[in-house]
Symmetry: C2
Subunit: 352 residues, 2 copies
DNA sequence: TCCGTCGAGGGAACCGGTTGCCACGGTGTT
DNA sequence: AACACCGTGGCAACCGGTTCCCTCGACGGA
């Protein structure tokens, strides 16, 4: 077995041509596969290709207009379970459609996001997918609108996946899931058990995902003619540590509540641990619900009642919709439904 | 505010040159930033750039030899928590070093892996990182050795991250963590509590990660002069469902054991639920330990005793080492340590 | 036998950048 | 006033491919 190790000089199409005794165009045609080439020539070329272990430079092909298209996605932190599932959906669908997949995690830094989008424009990415909620400020809309225009004018397309839509007119594809509706149904379920003081836990105060779920929480109360105590809305972020800390604080402050609805399952997990640490039982003393239905939710004890979100499907749909989009066609805005999955963590409030 | 929407014709450097009344070379030099250009000219060029919203085509730059380098990583499924953390480390370090990051998930299909590596060779990626364990067969070594050679001859580099090393001579960088050592210490801890029949749960039978942990399990027994019952080794895969199913089966089969060591925390989570469902308490009736120390481990009830693996650091190190590698230098093989983190899920066996 | 046709392959322009080399014009020096 | 020099910017070659267009030779039919 001969291994041609160490010759770090990647060979060009001209090297192959020379070795096969043909012109570069012929090699290109053999490799392209469509143009008629005699069997003899094809054989010589293929042998040269094999001997040199030649692969055509994808960048050069791209410049010439025949490259593998690329698709980029940007998220805050791939480590979060819901992000990971969206990412998975994006990646699966992209490769299924023959696209390469570039990732970037921003760690929540807007500058990273801008820089990366600019790079993607330079890469001539077919689409750039922004994954996950964010703070919905006028500045956000303005900035993102500019990105959308900028990408559109470069023949690319911006997709917001699980992120709030922009002002109409922005050339953008939006795929969302129903935060408000899911939370509404979930909280309605909690209230139906008889709870009247429900703590809403975690989520960044300005973050659209948290905000949407909060709206659902409020709407469910109103639908029953209830006005929730503003003191029962606690903010932090989306980590289990935040859930843990916030729950500890709420208990220390002796807040009056019989149920907890967490912004995410992660937050719920931390909260659950804090509850256990305080010697409280769930759902005996306190009921608890989450949001996202991450795989772990059913392994918490008690198994967590939560809202299922089709994250992977969301990612898939994002790329499919983006790539289907023909310039000039109306912008798409899809809203995916969610459903609550009832497990064991929500029960009746303790009788006094 | 004027938005030049719709002109999907990305402008070239020559368009900018024409608009600024200079040559393409001058534009290139202005944008390059090093070559001396008069302030007046620079101003005109920059204005034209702004007006056209021009960004140089990264692929063309790459062909000319001045592109942003790219780095690729391949994993089975980004959805697994440990994979996600490695991916995060890889991505962070890559962008810190100014590299673009391509992902591919193989869903465990070897053909995907091969195809993708070939594409990366075409992309002239600086390095390709294979993330996560695999079945360590002769076929694997042969195939991967070929990939390594092939990449090396293209000036790229193959990195195995959390994956078994190849035969010496393969141009490959290996970053591993100590599966055997971690499992050894963990199982030693379990045995020290007095357990004598310890169930080893889950993990694909041929998978290096599971195998390493299994070796540690066996070694810890031998160190105490114990010979574990082969019937106590149960295989499946790395999901929580596998853990759940396997545990149910073990209970149904009335296997005799007082402790369970799961191949991963995910498996442990499923197993824990199965134990709870059977009315068993942990660690009162059965002790349970995991491996990976995923964030959720502490939110299981009881909090899971497990082995911490520096996954993110692993990913970081993989890219740093790969990019530092100068051709011809000896191949690196790093082994990162792990440590057990003792929580509440392991206790003394029940007294009869 | 001659001509038309067709299949195969070569030459050169092109994709969109970068950069070595050279020309040009203005200023400082002797 | 002549000269050298330096700052500036254009031309053209090059990176590694693709593809249009054209030529060349073989073959078949009249």
């Amino acid at each position: 077995m001969t291994r041609k190790s160490g010759d770090a000089s990647r060979s060009t199409i001209r090297d192959v041509a020379a070795r096969a005794g043909v012109s570069a165009s012929t090699v290109s045609r053999v490799l392209g596969g469509v143009y008629p080439v005699s069997a003899a020539t094809r054989g010589r070329v293929m042998r040269a290709v094999r001997e040199l272990d030649y692969v055509a430079d994808a960048r050069a092909k791209a410049v010439a207009g025949v490259g593998t298209p690329t698709l980029a996605f940007v998220l805050e932190d791939i480590t979060g379970p819901s992000f990971a599932h969206m990412a998975h959906g994006v990646e699966r669908e992209a490769t299924r459609l023959g696209h390469l997949c570039l990732v970037c995690s921003t760690e929540g830094d807007v500058r990273h996001e801008l820089e990366f989008v600019e790079m993607m424009r330079a890469q001539r990415a077919a689409a750039v997918i922004l994954v996950g909620g964010t703070a919905d400020t006028p500045e956000y809309r303005e900035r993102t609108h500019r990105m959308a225009d900028s990408l559109a004018s470069a023949g690319s397309r911006l997709v917001l996946c699980g992120r709030p839509p922009l002002d109409p007119g922005a050339p953008v594809t939006v795929i969302e899931y129903d935060n408000e509706g899911g939370a509404y149904t979930l909280v309605a379920h909690v209230l139906a058990q008889g709870h009247r003081r429900v703590l809403f836990l975690g989520g960044r105060a300005d973050h659209t995902t948290a905000l949407g779920r909060e709206r659902g929480y409020l709407a469910a109360h109103r639908a029953r003619g209830l006005t929730p105590d503003p003191a029962l809305l606690l903010h932090g972020d989306f980590t289990r540590d935040a859930g843990h800390r916030l729950m500890q604080q709420a208990l220390k402050d002796d807040l009056d509540f019989t149920a907890v609805v967490a912004a995410t399952d992660m937050v719920a997990a931390g909260a659950l641990t804090a509850l256990h640490e305080a010697g409280l039982t769930v759902p005996g003393d306190v009921s608890l619900a989450g949001y996202d239905d991450i795989p772990f939710a059913r392994d918490l004890h008690p198994a967590l009642t939560t809202v299922h979100v089709p994250y992977e499907e969301l990612g898939r749909l994002a790329v499919r919709t983006a790539l289907d989009h023909t310039p000039g066609a109306p912008d798409e805005h899809l809203l995916l439904g969610t459903h609550v999955v009832v497990r064991d963590s929500v029960g009746a409030p303790p009788s006094r």
